[in-house]
Symmetry: C2
């Protein structure tokens, strides 16, 4: 099994690589070789029991995709994307990378022909949905994105389904929940506080909460995101059928429930490190985001997320903090 | 008011042109000039009370769209498309015209900038939906097309909504029902029989019915299609909101109900000109098509179709047969 990962230098990409190195196989097949591609040169793991090649490419450039397929990878994890904020700030760049880059990758796969039909797992996003929403969003709810990023991902999903239907590849699109707790430094993303209010207090630092405690959102851990990708890589395409894009499971909680979970896992003193500082701009942006899903198809196909936000916090402590936190 | 029509040489395009010539105005504004564009040179109406320019262009070619916008049309009817069967037979051509051609038109509008923000009415299609379906399809049902044509139209809808949201244009996408009774000669399209079983008997000719009488489908007359386009051109964008693509109203009937309507309008002898000749291939294709919609948003916004299939037949007799038929 040869594997290609685009966007391999990103947070999820890095965790996926470490998991593949630890497992040594994917969907029951031994991994022979792994190609890591990204805009910046991805770091190669030092301890891989298989060949690892790193490639610095701009998927928005013509022919970039073709060079990544030279080894005919049987599985492709397509994670590369301009993130939401940047795709909104730079309209052309977002479309060039998130739409044209993805389409060129699909076209490069098709151009090989000759029976080549890799499993391609696309990291899509719940940003394909746009308000107003029902209380819970079912699998057959329509995609009316309110960002250019969400539009580009929705288009990628449509292309994936059509290229798969035509027999050019074997695609599965998975709509990731907001990933929480995101490791690393605080950032200015509008969604940053969902992770920040857990991560910073556990580090002994103050976190700012810019929205009300009644704000509800849809979360899964970075560990679940990697599990989703691996599970999608091994799925029986016939069981998925023609509807190739799936909303992933997650945990729907309010910010108040996030804070209560933090207090319950790490203590009231930790939860007390959250400072309320309402930001109407962030509150307005977040009001347009989905709150809750009933992802029946993904659950029936065996995808699993956490059962509670407490579990999401414990995974963060385990995977990022070596099991302890600043009490 | 200056108007551009792409796909002006097509059946709907031609009827739209004749209606604009007859009306002399659009959405309450006098028409100053009309540009008709198509792959083949469209015929100019001889009796227009305004300037008419005809242009032969391939929208799949770079820069083709820009030349059509020289006069800064305030309203654009974008009807040009490779039809379903051809888009399925020629993958590249379908994407080049139906996706790239549309995107280039949108980009050419955006490139003008300078406050130019035309109303663009996109002719989309119920082909954006794919089986399995619920008994009736609501406005928030998801788009999982089962053809490349449907995929391309679904992508066009997403681009239209994003370009509109970003303020580059003022788009409205309308999903047309199957247009019935389609005038002209019998053709080999899988949907051809829906019109053929009405049109041919009224002409005194035999029609072949390749599917069972229980097949249900969603119809509107060519006259309604033109009405939808005109109504969309005059819609208040604020009332539409951010969800810019609308399923048009129609009449849901079974083939058996179509035949009963024909007998009721034109007599049993006319309806007896239909010969049953089951074609499993056509039956299989048609089984994947939507049967019935509840287009609440379009109805609330004032779009109107026929109330019955009898009315659709009477409109055909009025508009195409001069009021009489072969008894």
């Amino acid at each position: 099994m040869r594997i290609l990962i685009t966007g391999a230098a990103g947070m999820i990409g890095g965790k996926l690589v470490r998991r593949l190195v630890a497992d040594g196989n994917l969907a029951g097949e031994a991994i022979e070789a792994l190609t890591l591609a990204d805009w910046v040169a991805p770091e190669a793991p030092g301890d891989a029991p298989f060949a690892v090649e790193t490639r610095r490419v701009d998927l928005g450039e013509a022919n970039a995709a073709a060079t990544l397929l030279a080894a005919r990878p049987g599985t492709i994890f397509h994670l590369a994307a301009i993130v939401s904020g940047e795709a909104e700030a730079d309209f052309d760049k977002g479309y060039r990378v998130n739409l044209d880059g993805t389409r060129r990758l699909f076209e490069a796969i098709r151009a090989i022909g000759d029976g080549y039909r890799p499993r391609l797992v696309l990291a899509s996003s719940i940003a394909v949905f746009g308000a107003p929403f029902p209380e819970t969003i079912a699998d057959d709810f329509f995609e009316t994105p309110l960002t250019s990023y969400g539009t580009q991902k929705a288009i990628d999903e449509l292309l994936l389904a059509d290229f798969t239907r035509r027999g050019f590849m074997d695609g599965i699109g998975i709509r990731l929940p907001t990933i929480c707790v995101r490791p690393g430094k605080p950032n200015k993303a509008a969604s940053g506080f969902f992770s920040g209010i857990i991560r910073e207090p556990l580090n002994g630092e103050e976190a700012v909460l810019p929205v009300g405690e009644d704000v509800r959102h849809w979360h899964a851990s970075p560990r679940s995101a990697v599990n989703f990708l691996l599970h999608a890589a091994g799925l029986d395409g016939a069981a998925v059928g023609s509807r190739r894009n799936l909303t992933m499971p997650g945990v729907s909680v309010t910010v108040g429930e996030q804070i209560a979970a933090l207090a319950s896992v790490a203590g009231e003193a930790v939860a007390a490190r959250i400072r309320r500082e309402p930001d109407p701009t962030i509150a307005r942006i977040v009001a347009g985001w989905p709150r809750n899903f009933v992802p029946e198809r993904a659950l029936a196909l065996g995808f699993q997320a956490e059962r509670s936000f407490e579990e999401i916090i414990r995974i963060h402590i385990e995977d990022e903090l070596g099991g302890s936190w600043v009490k």
